[in-house]
């Protein structure tokens, strides 16, 4: 009797592997398309550098102000460049009915969500990894702090988890070009606050006990919103 019951349990790893394969296929598709066109990353990067340039004049980034506002400048840059990337990555799918093609594939819809989200996360991390040394050189500060890198990873995960969900809604509207930041920014404010405070904490060498609550908040946000987006994504792409 017991052997019969255990039989289907052994067979369960198979759909999980299928899910993983479908997800990686979506990620790979985005990477391959980007490798050939390079339109998304180049736009995000140039835009990010322009934002830093504008901040340079808007805030008069001299040595004294720099130490306190660096974290804020970095996160505003990432957020703006991130919106650009999210919008483009979903508009690409919508463009010639690619999204419909993706949805026709006999895979779990959430595999598509995670695939797109991981693709967006990779693009965002690439931009961040390039912006950091450029900022370090331009302003003669060392930003290569393992704590800061952790905050950037956690913050980007939260941003992309919500951003992928909302951008797939935004591209289906009439006002698609302007809607994403309006939908996204009020919802990701906790990520901004926590990421800016934690980053500036690491950059100024504040003790860990004071940074800890912000890191916890980022992790909590990431978990909650990845779970929610995972649950509701089906309804967003449903036809």
């Amino acid at each position: 009797m017991t052997e019969d019951v255990s039989q289907p349990l052994v067979a369960t790893p198979k759909p999980a592997a299928g899910f993983l394969r479908a997800m990686l296929a979506v990620v790979w598709k985005d990477m391959a398309a980007e490798l050939r066109s390079r339109e998304l990353l180049s736009a995000m990067l140039v835009f990010a550098l322009l934002v830093i340039l504008i901040f340079n004049f808007a805030l008069e980034l001299d040595t004294k102000t720099r130490s306190t506002v660096t974290a804020g400048v970095l996160w505003v840059t990432f957020a703006f460049a991130g919106t650009l990337g999210l919008n483009r990555s979903m508009a690409m799918e919508k463009d010639r009915g690619c999204l419909d093609g993706l949805l026709l594939a006999p895979v779990d819809r959430s595999a598509i969500y995670f695939g797109k989200a991981i693709g967006n996360l990779i693009f965002m991390l690439i931009v961040e990894i390039i912006v950091l040394p450029v900022y370090s050189v331009l302003y003669n500060t060392n930003l290569f702090n393992p704590g800061l890198l952790l905050v950037i990873l956690l913050g980007s995960i939260g941003y992309v988890a919500v951003g992928t969900l909302l951008s797939s809604m935004a591209v289906q509207t009439r006002t698609r070009d302007v809607l994403l930041p309006i939908l996204l920014f009020p919802v990701v404010i906790p990520v901004f606050i926590a990421a800016v405070k934690a980053s500036s904490g690491f950059l100024q060498g504040i003790e860990m006990a004071e940074i800890q609550p912000w890191l916890t908040l980022l992790v909590v946000y990431d978990v909650i919103f990845t779970a929610v987006a995972f649950m509701v994504f089906d309804y967003v792409v449903e036809e």
Partner: protein, 232 residues
Amino acid sequence: MEPKPRLLTLLDIVTVLMLIIATAMVFFYAPMEAVMGNVQRVFYFHVAAGWVGMLGFLVAAVAGVIYLITSGQKWDRVGLAAVEIGMVFALINVVTGSIWARPIWNTWWTWDPRLTTATIMLLIYAAYLLLRQGLDDPDRRARFGAVYAIVGFLSVPLTFFSARLFRTIHPVVVGTNQPGATGAFDMTPIMLQTFLFSLLTFTFIFIDLLWHRVRLGKLADQVEQMKLKATI
């Protein structure tokens, strides 16, 4: 076309009566607060309006969940109605708060966690309405509205928490005799009665308006369908 339900008419009358009584209580029954004077009387409707704003958001999120599960059109109408009413009351809350803050805190605005959260809530409501405006297909509009109401509602407590954490680590004193989070006055029993009655009154207003708005939405849909039939 169905006639107006009798119970709704009754609710209208009760709500108006309650609002009149509550206003009278605020001005004549409740005592004048010793330190702040008459301006403190804004407190009763200020908090009540804030409560209705939160309630609207909660109802919209719950209606969103039910809509996604059942896809009943009714729940979409409830969600939209709750957001519209909630937005108006959240705005009343912010404006009355500013009126109260000007003489007491000596500023129209401070970046206190509550104020910050209330503003961000308003912005989420506005984004919700903009999202719906950009969609023509009623089914998709309902689905996206439901999803955004849920996501927005979940982010509000996190926003409040992060804004409060922001203050505790960096205590910014805005050079004011800032009363504590709930106001630095002790409520006398009469004040408490007035306050609770105001809360109840505003809850009734919310239910009454919600009912009207849902009914209006239903009628609008019926008109839409009739128009379609007429053109065919």
